[in-house]
């Protein structure tokens, strides 16, 4: 992703998600979203999310504080340290390119749990 697109995407996330915060972790920009909603029938209904914008990668990485259960089952997931904190990661190959919007990315990733 280009530096211009990273700035744009971080700005879009701050504008679209109330209370979103941005931090710099080395060359990576991370955006913390205090609450993202899961599709209906997921438990819990929402959680905190982290979008990591790395200039060395073609698309953002997406992390959640909690992985929801859907009809009693959870998709394959793991945990990782980002910025000194524990986050959950899951596998989902979302079709997205950096000319799309940040909101499309986040909402697209959350569709994994639909």
């Amino acid at each position: 992703m280009t530096a211009e697109n990273i700035d744009r995407l971080a700005g879009e996330l701050k504008a679209s998600y109330q209370g979103a915060l941005v931090a710099q972790d080395g060359r990576v920009t991370v955006v913390r979203l205090p609450e993202v909603g899961f599709p209906q029938s997921c438990s819990p209904k929402s959680t905190e999310a982290l979008v990591s914008l790395d200039p060395g990668k073609p698309k953002p990485d997406f992390f959640l504080k909690r992985i929801p259960s859907l009809r009693g089952a959870q998709p394959q997931h793991g945990t990782i340290t980002v910025g000194g904190e524990s986050w959950c990661t899951f596998s989902y190959n979302l079709r997205w390119n950096e000319n799309s919007t940040a909101e499309q990315f986040v909402e697209g990733m959350l569709r994994r749990f639909a």
Partner: protein
């Protein structure tokens, strides 16, 4: 009770700081530190990421005690701090064992620190005076208006030198060990130390009891698993009753530690790195010993160790058959390693032990979502073999290294030791810190992320 305040200086800056503040000049030498901040359980940290040695022409003559620099240099300094979003700590030195800030120092701090805070309110700023074995100063933490005056300064080198807190002798503690005072000082330093051990199987369980023998004050044992029959081939610190009773490894090791030295406090953490409870345990430690069997956990431990300026000792043991596809094949290699990462020195990424490619390979080419299943599949192909004695050797090396870091009995800690289990030899390897290591650049003393 307010959290203890700890200023941490990584290895590559410790010597510079100590030498420069004591340099003989026509003016009092002053060094500026650019610092990040972190909150860990029970402590607030100011982490020195960079040192700035001001040029001679930055100073102006003063009639009072201490150093004075030009307004232009102050602006230059603030701009450098702003560019990196870091706080400014002014370091200088007064001789003697119990140092105090002079009236001039206090007056200058009361003038400068609020100015720094008004420009960079989210970072700590301070004026710190170092003495021989002591430290004092005035620190203005983010969001606070009153000055913190009690602090410790932790200099990382071949061992951790802590200025402030309880008095420590300025000579290496085991030099001519024998006097009552020296033995008491070693004991006191160990009693105040906290070591986290990640993984309590073959290596970690044996490290724990050795640390208990030394009298380390607190051992944080991190492992989510229960004892299984396989573990009995890897250590003599876990036994058949632990398997029969399906005890957690933390519970079983806690008992062994108590039998060894009941003065040692063992804190069990039934979680895997990087689960939140495990990370909290790591952040509290003075030294971390990683006894894990996968690269992903090593990568997470390395990040925490660097971010919060904590020495990290990593151990591992590998057995290789001469014909990997033949289950009847004889062993060709029994290889152990003990890698000591002192903050500011080489990390596991500098040495190439960790790489993005190796991490992806371990997870089967996917992201961490598939790591657990990849590790389970790998474990299914491993032969159950007796490795307790080989693990004992590397556990003893790791525990001795932790002892050296905490007490400082040798001039330089060995960075990488390779153990050849086939012939029983341990050799030392040199490691080189990569000047362009992206992980060192991003993580070393980075502290908590600064959310804006």
């Amino acid at each position: 009770m307010s959290a203890a305040l700890d200023i941490r200086v990584p290895q590559h800056l410790s010597r510079t700081l100590w030498e420069e503040v004591r340099r003989l000049n026509s003016y009092e030498p002053v060094i500026f530190g650019l610092v990040s901040e972190a909150k860990t359980p029970g402590r607030r940290l100011a982490l020195v990421r960079e040192l700035i040695i001001p040029p001679q022409d930055a100073f102006v003559r003063t009639s009072g005690h201490g150093a004075k620099w030009t307004a232009a240099y102050n602006i230059e300094l603030i701009n450098r701090a702003l560019e990196k979003s870091l706080g400014i700590v002014i370091f200088h030195y007064h001789g003697g064992g119990r140092v105090q800030l002079s009236a001039d120092d206090k007056q200058s701090a009361r003038k400068l620190l609020p100015t720094f805070q008004s420009v960079l309110p989210t970072r700590p700023h301070g004026s710190v005076v170092l003495g021989d074995g002591s430290v004092t100063g005035m620190l203005l933490m983010p969001g606070e208006r009153s000055y913190a005056e009690k602090m410790t300064l932790r200099l990382h080198a071949s061992s951790i030198e802590i200025l402030g807190g309880a008095a420590v002798p300025s000579t290496p503690l085991l030099d001519g060990l024998g006097t009552v005072a020296e033995i008491a000082a070693v004991k006191s330093r160990l009693e105040r130390a906290c070591v986290a051990i990640v993984g309590l199987s073959g290596g970690g369980s044996q490290v724990a009891t050795k640390l208990a023998t030394f009298g380390v004050g607190e051992i944080i044992g991190i492992d989510p698993q229960r004892v299984s029959a396989d573990n009995l081939l890897a250590t003599d610190e876990l036994g058949w009753p632990d398997v029969l009773l399906r005890l957690r490894k933390t519970g079983a090791v806690k008992t062994r530690v108590w039998w060894t030295n009941r003065a040692v406090h063992f804190t069990p953490v039934n979680a895997a790195v990087p689960e939140p409870k495990a990370l909290e345990g790591l952040k509290r430690a003075d030294v971390i010993i990683g006894c894990v069997n996968n690269l992903a956990a090593r990568s997470d431990i390395q990040e925490i160790a660097w971010r919060y300026c904590i020495p990290y000792i990593d151990i591992g043991l590998t057995l290789r058959p001469s014909e990997p596809t033949n289950p009847q094949s004889r062993l060709s290699h029994i290889s152990g390693n003990v890698f000591t990462a002192i903050p500011g020195g080489a990390c596991l990424w500098c040495t190439g032990f960790l790489s993005e490619k190796a991490l992806a390979g371990e997870a089967g080419g996917a992201n961490r979502a598939y790591l657990r299943s990849a590790l389970v599949a790998q474990a299914g192909h491993e032969q159950r073999v007796f490795v307790a004695t080989f693990n004992a050797t590397i556990a003893a090396l790791a525990a001795s290294t932790a002892f050296q870091i905490l007490v400082g009995y040798a001039s330089d800690p060995p960075i990488l030791r390779i153990y050849d289990g086939m012939n029983g030899l341990v050799s030392e390897m040199t490691t080189i810190k990569k000047s362009d290591c992206p992980k060192c650049t991003a993580n070393l003393c980075a502290g908590d992320l600064l959310w804006q």
